[in-house]
């Protein structure tokens, strides 16, 4: 009988299922994975080092480029860390706007995850379905910040500006082949304010989630690919540092929005879905349910924001810029503006860690300041990094095709893992 040796397979870094640039060295016995060694860092841009050389405000847009499918949640952790050190109050309206956009971001992220996870393990249609809804939310991003992806909307002390009164409309003949009648139909829910559009979205969205679930939840192939794959016990989930849907899928009810509430999460009503078996299928169910809960939170925020106008950024002009009108009439405001955008604000010496419940898990920013206008050290705690580290343990004993299912369930984005 010939001697059978383990076979080493190099997966990626350019592979459609590698979700970006992951090089995975797999040691295989037949089709069974004996050891998985992820080589990360191919997208390493040294964000933390760059931030040490930028003033606090300039480091903020880098956050969008970490996890580039949940941009505003990254920004949130950063501005919370800066605000913690500065001790600045955030207006309540800004807090509601932040919570609303965190949840919009969560839906955006989960929609991409669902599409990509589906695509990875054979459900081609999902991607087309989920991108239909993502498009609407991207338009909301664009309406408030001017950018579809890298919003840079949150600022230390609040948000960049209040929600606009109009939604951008589709135009006939511009970048589109649609007829006038089609365009009128596409614009039918865009004639009100941004809040009207978001509210219309929250009304439509539960039916969309039902649609996704019809395709997948009881689908035999889907279940064959996910049930019993990548099982993590609650004890191991804690030891491996899993957070977010990964730990909730294993049955641990832990969500920073509930347990360590920040902003106004203690004033909105929502539930935390929890899995039982800790396999890919349970994590899928958890994330699907999270989208419905996010939708509920968005609805509540819209209702609150409609009736409570007010400032959206701190009045402290040492941290937040003064209004354009104020600058033109008031010498002091002009000086504030000039100092803020040249030298930047100084953060008192000290250190702080601020964490948010990011769509992927716990995303935290650890900031050390020595009193300068630039951070002394910034460390990004990315949820995906810990999940990726668990790859070896979770993939052992599974078939090679399950590795792809595992990567889908981690919801990997290399922007945040490699930083």
């Amino acid at each position: 009988m010939p001697e059978i040796q383990n076979y080493t397979l190099n997966f990626g870094p350019q592979h459609p299922a590698a979700h970006g640039v992951l090089r995975l060295v797999l040691e295989l016995d037949g089709e069974v994975v004996m050891r998985a060694d992820p080589h990360i860092g191919l997208l390493h841009r040294a964000t933390e080092k760059l931030a040490e050389h930028k003033i606090f405000l300039q480091a903020m847009p880098y956050m969008d480029r970490l996890d580039y499918v949940s941009m505003m949640c990254n920004e949130h952790a950063y501005v919370m860390a800066v605000e913690k050190l500065l001790g600045v109050e955030v207006p309540v309206r800004a807090q509601y706007i932040r919570v609303m956009f965190d949840e919009i971001t969560r839906i955006l992220n989960h929609l991409l995850w669902l599409g990509a996870h589906g695509l990875d393990i054979g459900a081609m249609t999902m991607f087309l379905y989920t991108f239909r809804e993502r498009e609407d939310l991207m338009d909301v991003y664009e309406a408030v910040s001017g950018a579809r992806l890298h919003a840079a909307y949150y600022r230390p002390g609040g948000v960049y500006r209040d929600l606009p009164d109009t939604m951008p409309l589709y135009e006939v003949g511009k970048m589109t082949v649609h007829s006038e009648k089609d365009v009128a139909g596409m614009n039918s829910n865009r004639h009100g304010s941004v809040l009207d559009f978001i509210e219309d979205f929250t009304r439509r969205f539960p039916a969309c989630v039902d649609e996704y679930e019809t395709l997948l939840t009881d689908n035999r192939i889907w279940k064959q690919r996910t049930v019993g794959i990548g099982v993590v016990t609650p004890e191991r989930a804690l030891a491996l540092g899993l957070t977010g849907p990964m730990i909730r899928g294993s049955g641990i009810e832990w969500d920073l929005r509930k347990t360590q509430p920040y902003e106004v999460y203690d004033k909105v009503d929502f539930d935390i879905p929890v899995g039982v078996n800790g396999d890919c299928y349970d994590r899928y169910l958890v994330r699907m349910e999270e989208m419905r809960e996010s939708n509920r939170i968005i609805k509540q925020c819209v209702d609150w924001l409609r009736v409570n106008p007010g400032p959206v950024i701190s009045e402290n002009h040492k941290i937040a810029p003064p209004s354009r009108a104020g600058m033109k009439e008031n010498m002091e405001e002009l000086i504030h503006h000039f100092k803020l955008f040249t030298e930047g604000f100084h953060v008192p010496p000290g250190e702080a860690y601020a964490a948010v419940e990011h769509p992927k898990g716990e995303f935290g920013i650890y900031l050390i300041s020595d009193g300068a206008n630039k951070p002394y050290r910034m460390k990004i705690r990315a949820a995906g990094f810990a999940h990726m580290a668990a790859m070896d343990e979770m993939a052992r004993g599974h078939m090679i095709a399950d590795v792809v299912a595992l990567m889908g369930t981690y919801d990997i984005v290399f922007g945040e893992i490699d930083r």
């Binding site: 540092g241 360590q260 206008n373």
Partner: protein, 197 residues
Amino acid sequence: MNTKLERLTTNLKAALGDKIASLAEYVGEVTIVVKASDWLHVAHQLRDRPELGFEQLTDLCGVDYSEYGEGAWQGKRFAAVSHMLSISNNWRLRVRVFAEDDEFPMLDSVAEVWPIANWNERETFDLYGIIFSGHPDLRRILSDYGFIGHPFRKDFPLVGNVEMRYDPELRRVVYQPVSMENRVAIPRVIREEGYGA
């Protein structure tokens, strides 16, 4: 919230006693400093004692203090800072451990206590050159294969030391000393207390 922090500090003092070199509370966060020789022991205590209950290591990262406060730093240069979370007690803790030797920083690995520390320590080694003794697999993780130096140290230039280009004559990619210079648009300044107030 404050009573909770008080309970945490009391429990820490009771459990660790003189192993705590210093304990500070700032913006609602508790930080303890632990001697390098006690670190592994303390890590076990922090996880295993139910009144502390830090089941999860959120993060472990390196810090290079050499330029802190524009040369005002007196202590040791390298530290590993860990953030941990207790899900059972719902509190967080930050532990700072300074490496004794600035030239050859070395600390005990806590990968046996929290498996996630494995990758975090690899990252800290890669970026700061802190050696973790007892680590099962201390390889570089984020920087390139064959990278020289530890890029997050304060004396490592932001633009790096080498750049890569394709050489048409050799018909391969070559490394050469970096040709661009580091421009500082906004200088780093620390103002005196009460500046601009």
